[in-house]
Symmetry: C2
Subunit: 223 residues, 2 copies
DNA sequence: AAAATAATTTAGCCAAGCCTAAATAACAAT
DNA sequence: ATTGTTATTTAGGCTTGGCTAAATTATTTT
């Protein structure tokens, strides 16, 4: 029935899933994200499209998107990954900057039984430690209504929803600033040319943040 | 320095370790245990012996044993495996017959950090759910002084130490009998020809057990 | 000791996933 | 429209860890 979906394939599906949020994923972008030569990506895409059932829609030179089967497989891996991240933090005392790598290795090998048990022991959490939503057991995801921190303007208040980064150093930095999911923030000032944002973070001092940070933190702006 | 030790190599080392408890491991025995053709084993053994440092002592037609480096690597994997089995039972509510398969997949991918955290959270256990000793963090193992249940004779009492099996069905059966590590038993009768043993298991009725069982359960006989 | 059997090794092959180098297609700019 | 640039694909190879079939070595039996 379903051809075995190798760890490598799972990684491709994950990457295609996140890159094709905005349209189609390009060969180059995938190669960059996967740390692999573009030619290798082409080869794999051809293979994924030739599987029965196909996991991707692929036509030469036109990027790639997931089929329904591909998306299902991707969401299964993403659920594993995010549940694991939550479990590592909640139950084993990992810090949020150390979980990504471990989850990346574990996500390919845990059983559905394991998945269910950690989900249960965590009380079926809806978000991982970075604020990313965890696909439910039937693989549905809530609609995302957050906007970028960098789009806030002076006077607006918001709650941090999600931090998009796997870089331990950046995550530690954000943690030290208190810029973590749930944090209350208020925009104080915006510099038009460098796009810096001066931000007041509840229970921490005000800070000036560049776009490298503000474009990767997502917030829900207060009404 | 150390060439990367792939999951496949780890499996070979594990198998060589347990098979060479009694002397040297043969190509055929390894093939059988690993579920692989004998020719594949030969190929891998040649490779393991050619690594720098070599992981095995190997000479054509003469079986194989681990080098110091090979044994270290084997014990690391075994520590992972047994700690994981303990963790799955203690912290995630697995039954003892379901942990082997999961641990077999996880053992190759967990980090030293993960290992340390589960060891700590379990209070550095000395045995896994089947009674197998867990190598300590510095990879030492206690000397085993147990004997086979099948060697008990009427009148002797003992405590079950260890059950050697990965077969879920057998483990469930033993669990139902109460024949688990820690159980107190007394030999009532021994049939010389079929080697059956009639055993009284504390808090359970007496049962007659064949050698398929009694040779795979290890006990410490009371003085 | 020779022959039969069993165990092991060699030889040659395959699939998965990666690589580099060369060819081609798409896109942008004059 | 032609040229240059960039993105992508093709072609050919490599490594890992398997496989089968045939050859060889070891062991047992007669």
């Amino acid at each position: 029935m379903t051809e075995s979906i190798s760890p490598s394939i799972q990684d491709y599906l994950k990457s295609i899933y996140s890159l094709s949020g905005s349209g189609e994923a390009s060969t180059n972008a995938l190669a960059l994200r996967l740390g692999v030569a573009p030619a290798s990506v082409t080869g794999m895409l051809q293979k994924l499209a030739a599987l029965r059932p196909p996991l991707v829609h692929y036509q030469k030179h036109q990027g790639v998107t997931l089929t329904a089967a591909g998306e299902k497989a991707a969401l299964e891996v993403i659920r594993h990954h995010r549940l694991l991240e939550a479990y590592l933090v909640e139950s084993l005392g990992y810090s949020w900057d150390a979980v990504h790598e471990e989850a990346c290795r574990l996500e390919h090998v845990i059983s559905e039984d394991f998945e269910q048990r950690i989900a249960e022991s965590l009380g079926h959490p809806e978000r991982d430690p970075h604020g990313d939503p965890i696909p439910s057991a039937n693989l549905s995801l809530p609609h995302d209504i957050s906007s970028k921190l960098g789009e806030m303007r002076p006077g607006q208040s918001a709650v941090v929803q999600r931090v998009r980064s796997d870089d331990p150093a950046l995550l530690r930095h954000l943690g030290a600033l208190g810029l973590i999911p749930g944090a209350q923030v208020r925009a104080l000032e915006h510099s038009p040319f460098d796009d810096n944002l001066t931000l007041e973070i509840a229970s921490h001092g005000p800070v000036v943040l560049g776009p490298a940070i503000t474009l990767n933190v997502f917030v829900e702006v207060a009404p």
